[in-house]
């Protein structure tokens, strides 16, 4: 069961990171207002998957006991994903917003 939980946390971290990266990149990518709203809905698609995984991880009804480690791992993954893009010439990415974006997603998922 512990092994199963660890696996679920790995995939949960992956999805939450995607949601956070997606939200940050969206700000950098979308200039037209009409498109921004549509893409926000798409982030919700990843969000729904993350939520499904959150519901499979115990405890489901309160903050994860390992929330700090989970948050650190997500923030590390998000930064690494964004840095990769910056190093390849992608401009306009706000690295400062990583912590806030990760916290927001985790709060929305009831994981922190």
């Amino acid at each position: 069961m512990v092994q199963n939980r660890n696996k679920l946390i790995v995939i949960f971290i992956g999805h939450v990171s995607n949601v956070a990266v997606h939200r940050i990149l969206m700000k950098a990518a979308i200039e037209k207002e009409g498109l921004a709203e549509k893409y926000l809905k798409e982030t919700r698609g990843s969000f729904v998957i993350a939520l499904e995984y959150r519901r499979k991880i115990n405890p489901t009804d309160r903050v994860l006991p390992d929330a700090f480690e989970v948050r650190e791992e997500i923030a590390r993954k998000v930064k690494s994903e964004l840095m990769l893009r910056i190093s390849r010439g992608y401009s306009g990415i706000e690295l400062d917003s990583v912590g806030e974006a990760v916290n927001k997603v985790l709060r929305e998922l009831g994981a922190a």
Binding site: K7, L8, V10, I11, G14, H15, N18, V21, H22, L25, M26, A28, A29, I30, G34, L35, K38, Y39, K41, E42, S46, I49, E81, R85, R88, G89, Y90, S91
Partner: protein, 267 residues
Amino acid sequence: MEIIAKVSKGSKMDQIYIPRNRMGMAVGSYVVIRPAGEIERKEKSGRLYYYDVKELEPIKLEIVNRIFSVVERSVDELENIIITGSFLDEGYGFNDIDVLVVGNSEFNERELGKEIERETGMKTHFLSVSNSELANGLESDPFYQVMLSRCITKKRFVYKIGRKINYKILDLHLLHSKTLIEGFDVLNGIEKYKFTRNMIAIYLFVKGRKVGRKEVDKEIKKIFGTDPLNIKNDTLDKKNFLERYKGIYNRMFDLIMKGIKDGTKQK
């Protein structure tokens, strides 16, 4: 039950003969009689448009009609209703029904979803867009092209438009598919297929090729040397599949990053 029969001339009253061996319409029960032409007209007005969907099970057709009816009475300034996704696949392996509502008015998706669930017992996933957003999406977004390559619509729907590559948007889409590389052991077959399909749709889009469900499945077969069904059934050779998957992912990522960099330079 419906029977089409001819009105016959009688001596005092005219009559309609119907087979004695029939289901329903017992002797003594009341029935409605109306000209067959009216039924045809009614069917024509409730006609649906099928795009790459050869057949739909009668029960699914009933569900589609009910969804259209609920959406029509709940959404103002409605341009079209489009049903897409795995609901249109043969059988009953779908989780929810993807409904694209094209129009210019706002509506409460949650409430509408609840009403449809009450009427049909099915969960729905809504995406609402205006006509111009739909045109933009089809022009610049492989996700839309795959989604709308196979659908049922309320009104005729023609899409023959140009292609505009926005690398930053493609980057957002490709990002989804990265999950498979890290989560191969945890994801189920359907999830793996969706991530693979997403990546291959981007691949075809960037190469300027047609992006539809059939084309994507064909390319998956060609690139991974396995039928898409094996991905859905989660019966893959992990090492071989992941090797090819990472190869395509990295190639696409490089290409997109180059596109973004060049785009930035041009500005």
